[in-house]
């Protein structure tokens, strides 16, 4: 489940998961408040891209032609 970055300080960030706020390591990817992020074992691994819906539509259209 992705979380939302609330604040960033150095290599740490506060991330909100449906109301649960946790500190996470933010050294592996640049984040800013408001970003949706993927967190694994207390470490932010990636920022979720906003254009996912468009990408998936393209992929599904490609599959229809296979």
């Amino acid at each position: 489940m992705p979380g939302k970055v609330i604040s960033v300080g150095g290599t740490k960030a506060i991330v909100d998961f449906s109301g649960n706020r946790m500190e996470a390591q933010a050294g592996l990817v640049k984040v800013k408040p408001g970003d949706s992020v993927l967190v694994h074992a207390g470490c932010i691994l990636q920022v979720l891209a906003q254009e996912e819906a468009d990408s998936l539509s393209d992929l599904m259209a490609e599959l229809q032609n296979i």
Binding site: Q25, G27, A41, G42, L45, Q46, S55, L59, L63, Q64
Partner: protein, 346 residues
Amino acid sequence: MTDYRTFLGEYDGKPMRIMEVCGTHTAAISHCGIPSLLSPKIELISGPGCPVCVTVTEYIDRLVALSLESNTVVATFGDMIRVPGTSKSLQDARADGAKFRMVYSPLDLIKLAREETDKTFVFAAVGFETTIAVYASLLDELIAQGIRNVKLLTSLKTMPLVIDWVCRSKSGIDGFLAPGHVSVITGSDLFAPIAKEHTIPFAVAGFEGEQILVALYALVKLINAHEGRVMNMYPSVVTAEGNKTAQKLIAKYFESSDAAWRGMGVIPRSGMKLRAEYEAYDAGSENLYSDRGHNAQCRCAKVITGAEKPSACPLFGSVCTPQTPQGACMVSSEGSCHSYFANRRR
């Protein structure tokens, strides 16, 4: 857009076996009831992607021994506490004085190590590329803060060569649901050489039910078209090249090594170990290769490689349950046996 759910439910082409490599996918597939949505011609097989399940007993024995040493505390994710070694688990060893702590993140050790400087904390560092990145972050912090009372007992695995092993083992797998979170770190291109060499498709998938179904739809299409390539069906977080910062940090602290896998033996260069210059942080991880479960009838080894389903094991659901696990696959919530038992899959 094609109704992929109808397509998967009514599929009547050639029978196919699709392996979900990642333990989190195994759990999500069961939790979402995905097998009940698929045509009987599409069979899902769980693969060797549950890190606890593929860890050999000699590693567990070493962990137990460390937990009994004076001033040493083992720290671990929760699953590892109940995994049986040759004779006992960490939990069993508590009566003998074993000292261990369950943590949410390896990074929790920084606070523990600062507060309890008279103890050495040993983290049970198992996992794949995703978690190796977290261990690299931990080492970065430990060194930056000058903390010396934390060590890692490593049993680190990497994905490509074990999937190659499955392809070469004549397991009859037609396509792979590729691990989403490993791919976040490595990039989806990691699987392209294997896909090409074995002419077998990979679809990188997220962990929501719909994301898994979409990836299965892609696989069924690609298998029928005989296309050995990778499709990234988890584009919100996975890129072709992966997280370069994480890859560099992993390469700074770890190097490729042979690794022992339950059920498969030692696969050359299928794991990672600490680089020699950081051996001060190693808790004695070399040569932990032996694997002898305490119940000879346990079929974990065959379940992990996809050779048998959990329900084929004579211990499944009788002697072996989540309360009385005989092998690692019944301990971890990502383990195939646990997942089959908890969700009444057959």
